[in-house]
């Protein structure tokens, strides 16, 4: 008698989960299938069966002189990796500064950072472009990753994580062991923060990888363009050159690095890194 309701619940739960998984993965399936079909096949409508145009599509994408895919991948990788590293490291550092030290302007500093969090990128975009033009960084990759140093959302995540997982006794113990302040951060705090760093690194990487708005404003040189700009360029190609197979192929190429980054970093997202250090 007891078992029956839980059995039904399990079945319902699985059906819901399978449906959700299907919703998530179906688009990837369409993407991969369409990357193997040519333009006319795609225009005819959807098909579950993969076509035979994978290699031709790939060749078209790689050989298009107007769309420098390889340099696009390289640029995107540089920008996204640096963004992820800068955003996580410096946000953790800021959060640590506000968490572990007591100073007069601690509260105002925290509120200031939170205020920046509510400001949309678009609002400050004009000022930002003005600034980097004056600094001579227009049409370079620097403006795409340097601002990641100040990432209020990542900061807030790190701050909350520290409150729950970083006992200050560990910091004190390190100080007594003869550790300087920076070394304490790098050798004690960073390893304990690994799960939080991994989560935020993935988010920051993906966000930067998909970012179209700022790169489109900053970059004009073809060899410095990132993947989202190239995809957009391909999509807005004129009628005669428009090839859906190519577009799907480029998008497929664009998501591979994200999957790799996710798989590589997700092994650090484990609970209990800080377990056992202090008696709770």
């Amino acid at each position: 008698m007891d078992k029956k309701p839980s059995h039904v619940r399990t079945v319902v739960a699985y059906i819901v989960l399978i449906f959700l998984t299907f919703l998530c993965l179906f688009f990837f399936y369409i993407l991969v299938v369409n990357a193997t079909r040519n333009h006319t096949q795609i225009q005819k409508g959807f098909s579950f069966i993969p076509g035979k145009s994978f290699i031709p599509n790939l060749k078209h994408v790689l050989n298009d002189a107007n769309i420098p895919v390889l340099s696009g991948i390289k640029n995107s990788l540089i920008v996204s990796s640096l963004s992820a590293v800068l955003a996580t490291y410096f946000s953790a550092l800021t959060a640590y500064g506000l968490y572990a030290y007591n100073f007069k302007l601690k509260k105002p500093a925290f509120i200031f950072i939170m205020l920046i969090l509510v400001m949309p990128t678009q609002v400050s975009a004009m000022g930002f472009i003005n600034l980097i033009t004056k600094m001579g960084m227009l049409n370079t990759l620097f403006p795409l990753f340097l601002p990641s140093i100040a990432a209020p959302a990542v900061f807030y995540f790190m701050y909350s994580y520290m409150q729950s997982s970083l006992p200050l006794e560990l910091v004190e113990a390190a100080r007594i062991d003869g550790c300087g302040e920076f070394k304490t951060f790098n050798r004690i705090v960073i390893p304990i923060m690994k799960p939080a760093l991994a989560v935020q690194a993935i988010f920051a990487f993906v966000q930067s990888w998909n970012n179209y708005f700022i790169p489109a404003l900053v970059i004009s040189d073809n060899t410095k363009k990132t993947l989202p700009i190239l995809i957009a360029a391909l999509r807005s190609a004129d009628f005669l050159k428009f090839d859906m197979g190519k577009v799907y192929m480029l998008i497929t190429i664009a998501i591979v690095p994200i999957i790799i980054v996710y798989i590589a970093l997700s092994k650090y997202i484990v609970a209990g890194v800080a377990l056992g250090g202090v008696k709770e």
Binding site: E169, A173, R175, I176, D177, G178, K183, L275, G276, V278
Partner: protein, 363 residues
């Protein structure tokens, strides 16, 4: 190796609360000093000031001859064991113990030697490759001790290191720490609220209350000659009995009267108190049921509220002349609850305190 000196040290927190109003204390080189007192008495703050984890508002702190007020913790050559252990969770036991030595750029072979030596003393050899989360509470505690040991610090600070352990382990670790002190020959400062730990381990004990040192003396002297009511009540378990008694002048001296008892105390210090009420302190073991102790006026006939049989002796909780008393008598003389018992007070061992100032009058 070095002693520690506090000169007029004041600690006031940012919110204006003064925890330590004016601390003067001298801890000698190689001494084992225990800071003891109820929670919030400033003992941990005092320890953290020695460590450099709390700033000093005013006054001077010396370790050896060097003034330490502005020296950061890492340059003080101290080691500290935290109540919560504070082990680095991402490092193995070996790395935890070697960390400070690595930072000091000690050669690898020497680190290895020192860590293994400490691990052997503490019985941690089999666990060197484990991470803290795979250890039991007692093992973690020993790693924390080991981490402090390997450094040969000038001063060894321990902040309630045993309070998270079970009773059996605590007794075991207590003797281990005492042994360690003898072996290392370093100055130890140990904070606890447990008076048994204080009594058994300390060369000298500093009893604190509200940031003020009440008495700083050897365990035996604290027990035999407490300087005020607080110390008398804090040291000793079960606690000393405090009985309100009136001082009367007798033919050849003074008597402390309560109930039917008239304890003859011939001490001139009582002269100003004739006719007044004082507090008479009697340790539970200074009530005797054995016949040879009975003398003139020192007997009480009390009702037993509760008896606790401890094996060789028995704790009796008495109700006498409206006052609650605890006594500790040999089991064969003890009686059961709801009976009456006749006990003699050992007059030579009583302590008399002023009721207003709470200071000792004579003992």
């Amino acid at each position: 190796m070095a002693g520690i000196t506090f000169k007029n040290v004041v600690k006031t927190y940012d919110n204006g609360v003064t925890v330590v109003p004016d601390l003067n204390m001298e801890i000698k080189d190689k001494e084992f000093v225990v800071l003891v007192g109820p929670s919030g008495c400033g003992k941990s703050t005092t320890l953290r000031m020695i460590a450099g984890l709390e700033s000093i508002t005013s006054g001077d702190l010396f370790i050896g001859d060097q003034r330490m007020n502005a020296v950061p913790p890492k340059d003080r050559n101290i080691a500290m064991v935290f109540q919560s252990y504070a082990l680095y969770p991402h490092m193995t036991v070996y790395k935890n113990m070697a960390f400070a030595l690595e930072l000091a750029k000690t050669p690898k072979e020497e680190i290895d030697k020192k860590v293994h030596a400490a691990a052997e003393i503490l019985g941690l050899e089999p666990y060197l490759d484990r991470k803290p989360k795979a250890l039991s509470g007692g093992q973690r505690q020993r790693v924390a001790l080991g981490r402090a040991m390997v450094r040969n610090p000038e001063v060894f600070l321990l902040d309630e290191p045993l309070s998270n352990l079970d009773a059996k382990l605590r007794t075991e670790m207590r003797s281990q720490i005492s042994k360690l002190h003898k072996q290392l020959g370093t100055t130890f400062v140990y904070v606890t609220h447990d008076q048994t730990e204080a009594m058994t381990m300390g060369d000298r004990i500093c009893v604190m209350k509200d940031g003020i040192i009440q008495q700083f003396d050897t365990p035996q002297n604290l027990y035999d000659y407490p300087c005020n009511l607080f110390v008398a009540g804090f040291i000793g378990s079960p606690q000393m009995n405090f009985i309100d008694a009136t001082v009367e002048k007798t033919g050849n001296g003074f008597a402390l009267c309560f109930g039917e008892a008239k304890l003859n105390v011939n001490n001139e210090a009582l002269a100003p108190y004739v006719g007044k009420t004082v507090v008479c302190g009697v340790r539970p073991e200074d009530f005797h049921a054995e016949p040879q102790f009975f003398g003139e006026g020192n007997a009480i006939d009390a009702y037993i509220d509760l008896d606790e049989m401890m094996g060789s002796e028995s704790y009796l909780y008495l109700d006498y002349a409206g006052q609650k008393l605890v006594t500790r008598v040999p089991a064969r003389y003890a009686k059961k609850a709801d009976e009456n018992i006749k006990l003699a007070v050992d007059v030579d061992k009583i302590h008399v305190f002023d009721k207003n100032t709470e200071l000792v009058i004579c003992q």
